[in-house]
């Protein structure tokens, strides 16, 4: 395994898949959030890998990743407060306890 574009892509795919696994499998909302971060990171990794290996403008990928990270921060910020709010209302951050809206 060498430092080729493909190996980066494989790593990021794996990261994505692990993120998906956590997203679908974990019951704790914080853990779900963590999985989402993994997914975003895999996308960032993708961008930077492409940045190095194929993009003509080497700042493009980096800029994109900066935005991803910034928005991820915003997302976590909102998500955490929502999760806290949920916890406050329901005394649980288990996804499966948030099943009131249904049908």
């Amino acid at each position: 395994m060498s430092q080729s574009l493909q190996s980066y892509l494989v790593i990021s795919s794996a990261l994505f898949a692990i993120g998906v696994f956590g997203l679908l499998g974990r019951r704790n909302l914080v853990a779900v959030l963590i999985s989402l971060e993994l997914i975003l990171n895999s996308a960032s990794l993708n961008f930077l890998a492409f940045n190095k290996f194929s993009l003509p403008d080497k700042s493009l990928g980096q800029v994109f990743v900066i935005f991803i990270i910034a928005l991820a921060a915003a997302e976590v910020c909102v998500a955490l407060s929502l999760i806290l709010l949920l916890y406050r209302k329901k005394d649980s951050i288990n996804v499966e306890d948030a099943k009131e809206l249904r049908g």
Partner: protein, 166 residues
């Protein structure tokens, strides 16, 4: 060669961290593993000639996001005390199968694609990034500030305990 071995190590570290982050039962450990994984990602960024991004990853992601998560976990102490019940085998199997299938599909796609020849030459400098941010990407740059503003107001609003229905 050594770089390759080091690269492999980092990659393994990243994936291991990620795996632990989603599989450990305790949320707190999850968060710690996430940090591990993010650290690996940051290292990979360095391999990709993006040292600035690696730093940002560490400062922002590890320093801010992951810590925020840990804070959140700590702040609401019962959140960790309440252990997850028995693992739901069906659910885990389902997510595993879906993730595996997805992974396999992605790999196949990647395998079948003819990738362009590597072209690592170019200007990776911070200056270039800055220039790009303030010229080509000015619109997202401005917008993202608004997003952050909204997120902050939102987070504050949600965290505030007031709020009465009319």
């Amino acid at each position: 060669m050594i770089a390759d071995i080091f690269f492999m190590g980092v990659a393994l570290l990243t994936l291991l961290g990620a795996l632990l982050a989603v599989s450990l039962k305790n949320v707190f450990y999850n968060a710690l593993s996430l940090i591990l994984s993010l650290f690996g990602v940051a290292c990979l960024f360095i391999f990709l000639n993006s040292e600035f991004l690696a730093i940002i990853e560490i400062i922002l992601y590890i320093g801010a996001i992951a810590i925020a998560i840990i804070f959140a976990i700590m702040l609401s102490s019962p959140m960790i005390q309440k252990k997850e019940e028995k693992p739901d085998v069906k659910k885990i199997a389902r997510s595993f199968i879906l993730a595996a299938l997805f992974f396999w599909g992605l790999l196949q796609t990647l395998r079948r694609t003819v990738w362009p020849a590597a072209n690592p030459e170019g200007d990776y400098s911070l200056g270039a990034i800055g220039k790009s941010l303030l010229s080509n990407q000015i619109l997202p740059f401005e917008t993202v500030s608004l997003v952050l503003l909204v997120a902050i107001i939102g987070a504050l609003m949600l965290a505030e305990k007031k709020g009465t229905a009319r």
